[in-house]
Every structure is written in C-alpha cells, then in structure tokens.
C-alpha cells in the first residue's frame, strides 16, 4: 500500500547511507575547484544508483520515484556533491519522450553515469531565452540561459524550446556550459551559451510536466534529508554539550526547539513521500510536488537555522559542517520556486477555478 516502505526500500536506503558515509566528501567542492564529488559519483555509478530510474532494458535500475526519493533524501543527508536529482530528471525526460533509437543511444551513458546531464526547466523565461532551428536531421539551439541549477559538471543538457507552437525537448552536448560560483558549492550552477549548438529533438510530443515535478520532488527530498541529518547531529550535540553543569538538552528552551524541529522534519518527509507516491501512481502530481517543495525546503531552512542556533558559537564556524547544510537548504529553497511561489500555485488551484 501507499507509504509502506518495503525491505528492499530499506536496503536501498542503507546502501546509500553507507556509501555516503564512506565516500562522500562535500568539502572537496569548497577546498578545491571541483564541480562534483568525483569519487562518490563513480561509486554511485558502479552501484547502479545513478540510473535507478532508467528502464532495465537500457541498463537502468527500473526503479521509480519512490526509490529515487529515498536516494535523494540520503544524498541530502550527506550534503553529497553529486547532481543526482537533475541527472535523474533529465534521464526521465529521455525515457519518456525519446524514440526507441534515441533511448538506446542516449540512455546507456546516462544510466552508467558516463554522461552527466543537466536540465533546463520549461519556465516562460527559459522558453523565451532559447530558440531551436531545424538543420537537416539535426537541430541547432541559439540563445543564453543565465542560470541552470546544479549543472556545473553537466556534459549534456536537456533543453525545452518552442517548436511549431508546442514545447518540445532537445538534447545537446554542444552548449558552452560555464560553471558559476554558488553560495552552496556542492550544487554549482552554470550558465549556458548556445551558439547555434548542435542538438537533437526528442521524438515525443506528448509534453508532460513530469520532469519538472520529479525534479521538484527530488530536490525537496534532498532538503528533507539535509534537515533530518542536521536535527540528528543537533540532538546528539545537545546531550553532550554541558552548560551550568547539565547537558543543554535538559533545558526546555532547547528541548522545545528540538521538538519543533522534529515536527518540521517529519512534515517535510511526509510531504516528499506523498509526492513520490503520487508520481509513482502516475497521477497528476503538480499539487503534490508543490506541497513537497513548499514544505520541505522551507522547513529545512528553519531546521538547519535552528541547528546552527543550538550549536552556539561552534555552529557558525567554517570547521563545523552545519554551514554546508545551511547553504544547501537555502539554495534548494531558492532554486525550483520558493515556498511562497508554490503556495501561490496551490492557492490558484484552490481559489480560481
């Protein structure tokens, strides 16, 4: 039934948690100039995690949104510096809209993680910024996108464009992708310059909002995971740190803040799981995805901010990992529509029919 995590789900969760614990090194993106946690990405590729949502016929895991959400949540817990969510949404787009030939050609490298995919969402601004022209059997893209989230390491881009009055999706490896410095360096953004870049058109015309909904849900799962981890770290810290001769977790001001953080974290997870199951069942998931975004990213910012506060002075040092979480959840909150934007969409659907 819905919301029941099977033993396989639990095993997947443990797998990712274990891999992250041993391999994840988000600091690599702060200390060096790396755009991705290369070692973690390759371990995830070997374990078949990167292509979990790709159909088995194309060497993927044949999993769905529930499995992807579990992975994104665990990666969020570790502030992992890998573009899993965007890559998964891009692969989903190819799987949904590619011809059989395109799927065969494009999905294998995506499933193996040899190609790292970024995705441009079909917002009005993005659709206005890029134009597609036919060029024989191929296509050419022109224009400039100033900001593509978490595409700093992308070698391929999924790009939507107007064609014949419809929104169609194109794949290009020829865009000039320049990484941009970001507050959260584990999700480096990029700008893309399409100087008549070679591209191919995905054959499907059945335009679906699903790539965006999946991406929003996975990004929300990252936020929920980051919040859960910050809460866990903090709840341990408050039993260890003493003031006035007692663990500070003894003080109600601390306890009650922790309790509110717990409510925020569990609400974030519930919202994310709700969206995952809605997507898994193929329902329209627009409201569920907005719910997940509105709750998970907003709550995560509140929870991690509280975690910093409860850590006191140590919480505002570079050395303490909490700021990696703070930057991450703030970036997630701003990236795919702010909580208020998503509440606006929900209000439109409740009030303007």
């Amino acid at each position: 039934m819905k919301f029941e995590f099977t033993e396989e789900h639990q095993a997947l969760r443990s797998l990712i948690a274990g891999v992250c614990e041993q391999q994840a090194d988000p600091r690599a993106c702060y200390d060096g100039q790396s755009m991705i946690d290369t070692r973690l990405w390759s371990v995830l590729c070997s374990a078949g995690v990167v292509g979990v949502g790709v159909p088995e016929a194309y060497e993927g895991g044949g999993g769905g949104p529930v499995e992807q959400v579990i992975i994104a949540e665990e990666l969020g817990r570790a502030v992992a510096a890998v573009p899993f969510s965007e890559h998964a949404a891009a692969a989903e787009t190819v799987a949904l809209l590619g011809s059989e030939e395109q799927r065969k050609r494009l999905l294998f490298p995506l499933a193996r993680g040899e190609a790292v995919a970024g995705i441009v969402l079909p917002t009005p601004a993005n659709l206005k910024a890029v134009e597609a022209h036919r060029d024989g059997a191929r296509w050419r893209l022109s224009g400039h996108i100033p900001l593509i989230p978490n595409a700093g390491a992308a070698t391929a881009l999924l790009v939507p464009a107007h064609e014949d009055g419809q929104v169609r999706w194109l794949v290009t490896e020829a865009a000039q992708v320049s990484a941009l410095p970001t507050v959260d360096r584990t999700r480096p953004a990029a700008a893309a310059e399409f100087g008549d870049a070679d591209a191919e058109l995905l054959s499907g015309t059945d335009i679906s909002e699903r790539p965006g909904e999946l991406l929003m849900t996975l990004a929300a799962a990252e936020a929920a995971g980051a919040a859960a981890s910050a809460l866990q770290t903090t709840a341990r810290y408050t039993t260890e740190r003493h003031q006035f001769g007692l663990p500070i977790g003894t003080f109600q001001a601390v306890k009650h803040r922790l309790a509110d953080m717990l409510v925020a974290v569990e609400n974030a997870r519930s919202a994310v799981y709700g969206a995952a199951w809605a997507l898994a069942e193929g329902e329209t998931a627009a409201l569920s995805a907005s719910l997940a975004q509105a709750v998970a990213t907003g709550n995560a910012v509140a929870v991690v901010s509280d975690a910093v506060q409860l850590h006191g002075g140590i919480g505002v040092t570079w050395e303490c990992d909490l700021h990696l979480y703070l930057r991450r959840v703030k970036a997630l909150e701003a990236t795919y529509g702010s909580p208020s934007t998503h509440r606006g969409r929900i209000a439109d659907s409740l009030l303007d029919r």
């Binding site: 039934m1 717990l262 409201l287 509440r343």
Partner: protein, 413 residues
C-alpha cells in the same frame, strides 16, 4: 484538480487490499447502517435540548451494542469483534463518511473498557463491561485536578482504606460529561507517603454516591462541556479498585497507541470539512463586496491551511502504513497530536479572519460570517493546545522520547 485533492479520504485513497474477512466485515457494517442509521438521523434532526440529545445518544449506543458495533476493538467474549487494524480503519472511515452519531458512552468504551479488560478481575469485567457496552452506564474520567494539570502524578485526591471500603475526598476538574455520567474512573492517592507515582490507585466511583457534587465549568465559548467533581468522603468498596492498590499508575498506562493511529482519520476529516467550508466562503463577497479570495494575504494563508491539513493526512497515512504492516508507530505518530492541535487552532483562526471586519459579529447578527459559527469555533479551539496534554508537555515528550534528551530535573525518574 481541487476536487481530488480536497475530497475526504475515502477507502480508495488508502489503496489497501481487503481480505475476505475484511470485506465481509465492511459489508455487514454497511448493511446494518442502511437499516438503522436513517431513523436515527431523523430523530437527531428533531432533537432540541441537550438532554434530548443525550437520551438519543444512549438509545443509539444500545442499538449499536445490539448489532455488535459499539466496541469493535473489544474481544468477542465481551461483546466486541476483536477487529483488526484494517477493520478499525474501515469502521472509522465509513463512520465519518456516513455521519454515524457518537456514542453516549464513548469515553468508557474507549478508555475505561480496555483498561478493565487488561487489568480487571473476571468479576469486575462481568460487572462493569456489559452496562458500559450498551449505554446503561455512561462513564467519565477523573484524572485531572486543579493542582495537577501537566503534572498528573502530583494529584491530591485522597483515598483512605477503612475496612473493606475506600473513603475518597478531593476534587477533580475538566471532567467531560460528568453531568450525564453514571460512573467515573478516577485516579486517587491511596498512599500519601510513597513517591509521587507510587501510591496512586485506579478506582471506579458511582456518580450517585453520597458526597459527590458536580459543578459545570463554563468555557470561554460559553459552552459547559466540562465539570468540576467534588468528592467529600465518598465511600466505595475496595473491589472497585482496578489492579493493585497503589498500583494505579501502571494501570493507566495501558497504551492506546494503535487505536490513536487510526483515530487521526476522524480528525483529518473534520479539518478537511472546515477548510472546505472556509474556502467556499472565501469566494463569496461580504456585504461590502469584498472577497477574501482576492486578497494575497488570505490566498497565502488558505494555501498554507490546505498544506497543513494535507500534512495531517500524510502523517496519518505514514503511521497507518506502519501499524498495518505490524510495526511500531513511528515518530510521525508521536508528533501528530502536537502538530494536529496547532493546525486545528490555526485553521479556525483563519476561518474567523476571512470574515474581515464582519468577523466581530456574533450569532444573531444578520451579517455574522457562517452565522457566528466561525467565532464559536475559534473560541472553542483556543483549548486545543491545552486539553489532553498541553503543547508544552507534548514537546517535552517528543524531545525526551524521540530525540533522547535528558528529562527535566524536576520530573520523576
């Protein structure tokens, strides 16, 4: 899109497989309701005074008991059905959907009955359960005291053993339904020298006994659902003590966690109904032509209210999935009460606020929003975060039990 998302959670929403037994259970229950419910709805529609309603609630309970529906979680031998979690779920969902009236004696059936079944002697079970089941005896709960709110273990109502009797003197407060009750199950301090939680007994007290006085407490809404109960040398036989003398604290801990996991459905449906009504009214212009639905501030709060109610539902579903899979309830269950009571309070404040300047009007004013019911609901729900454990206590519990924080230094070990 709205229709799907605002619909009350029906059975389909749960996406559970029904076994043959469950399907038969559902079928029997529906058939029984078809036969008995319409007449009761008619009678209730005609009932005026509170006393009439109380009599009807007892009547309904006797019908439900006769059909075997009054206490479905009780074992078969006591007139229950030993219902599975799935059957309880079906029962609660359909009860809400079909507006099955509440039982007069639900406090006894839900709280005292399971305690008697777990801790009572065979004689006590034979004596108290049948009239509790069919509504001849309506029960109230005597736990809270004026000096012992959040700190239940500090209660001071005294029980002194005198021969084979217990002589009880003290005061209980927030006793819901005491004005109609035949019996009260109460916590009484029977050993004043023992540490706080020791020395407490769980005692059954007839409300007709000499020395009992019930005084209604009027709430800020003007309702009087609660009471103070004064006990002045009330004498009950020692056979009315459940479990060991001085062992009452353990008796009360008979856990109702699984039941709670399912009861959330009722809460969520009530919230959904309030939200839906609020949304409907937000789209209608007030006497000055103002529509709340046009105000960005209200649009945002309405969206947040929808989110909150959805979260109550999603939390409940997560917890339910665990319980139905035979696992322990998770943290999302433990936090449901804290979050749910805030959601209820916030939602009623929103409903009131939507009225704009007309929100100040009370029942009887022609332009009072929702005929003054929003104002009443707002006043009533000011108690949501106090009754049944304040939000402060809930937060302590969450931090200590789920997050492993040290207990307050002043709390008992």
């Amino acid at each position: 899109m709205q229709q799907e998302t605002l619909a009350p959670s029906g059975l389909g929403e749960l996406d559970i497989d029904l076994s043959e037994d469950d399907a038969a259970f559902a079928e029997e229950w529906m058939t029984w309701l078809d036969t008995h419910l319409p007449a009761m709805h008619e009678k209730l529609a005609d009932a005026g005074r509170d006393a009439d309603k109380q009599a009807l609630a007892r009547d309904w309970q006797s019908q439900m008991a006769a059909g075997g529906w009054a206490a479905i979680t009780w074992p078969l031998e006591f007139g229950g059905r030993a219902a599975t979690a799935r059957q309880q779920l079906i029962f609660y969902l359909t009860s809400a959907e079909r507006r099955v009236p509440p039982l007069a004696g639900r406090i006894g059936i839900n709280l005292c009955g399971p305690t008697l079944i777990a801790h009572g002697t065979s004689e006590q079970q034979q004596r108290f359960l049948p009239p509790m089941l069919d509504g001849r005896h309506v029960w109230c709960q005597g736990f809270s005291e004026p000096g012992a709110g959040s700190d239940l273990a500090s209660l001071r109502t005294r029980g002194v053993v005198d021969g084979d009797s217990l002589v009880i003197t003290g005061q209980k407060i927030w006793t819901s339904g005491a004005q109609y009750a035949d019996w009260m199950f109460a916590l009484v301090r029977t050993d004043p020298d023992a540490p706080k939680r020791r020395g407490i007994s769980f005692v059954l007290v007839p409300m007709t006994a000499n020395g009992i006085e019930v005084r209604p407490i009027r709430q800020i809404s003007g309702d009087a659902g609660f009471n103070e109960v004064f006990l002045d040398e009330v004498r009950v036989p020692l056979t009315n003590v459940i479990g060991e003398l001085n062992g009452g604290w353990n008796v009360t801990r008979t856990t109702l966690a699984n039941e709670r996991a399912i009861l959330f459905m009722g809460q969520q449906m009530a919230l959904t109904a309030t939200l839906r009504k609020a949304i409907t009214m937000a789209k209608v212009a007030d006497p000055q032509g103002v529509r709340a639905a046009d105000d960005p501030h209200f649009r945002d709060r309405i969206a947040q209210a929808w989110i909150d109610v959805e979260l109550v539902r999603l939390n409940g579903m997560r917890n339910l999935a665990r319980v139905l899979a035979g696992k322990e309830p998770g943290p999302e269950g433990a936090m449901s009460k804290l979050f749910g009571q805030h959601v209820e309070q916030k939602l009623h404040e929103l409903a009131l606020d939507l009225g704009g300047e007309f929100a100040i009007l009370d029942r009887g004013a022609p332009d009072a929003p929702n005929r003054g019911k929003w104002a009443l609901g707002w006043l009533r729900t000011r108690a949501s975060t106090i009754g049944g454990g304040t939000s402060e206590i809930q937060r302590n519990v969450l931090a200590e039990r789920i997050l492993g924080q040290p207990r307050d230094p002043w709390a008992d070990a």
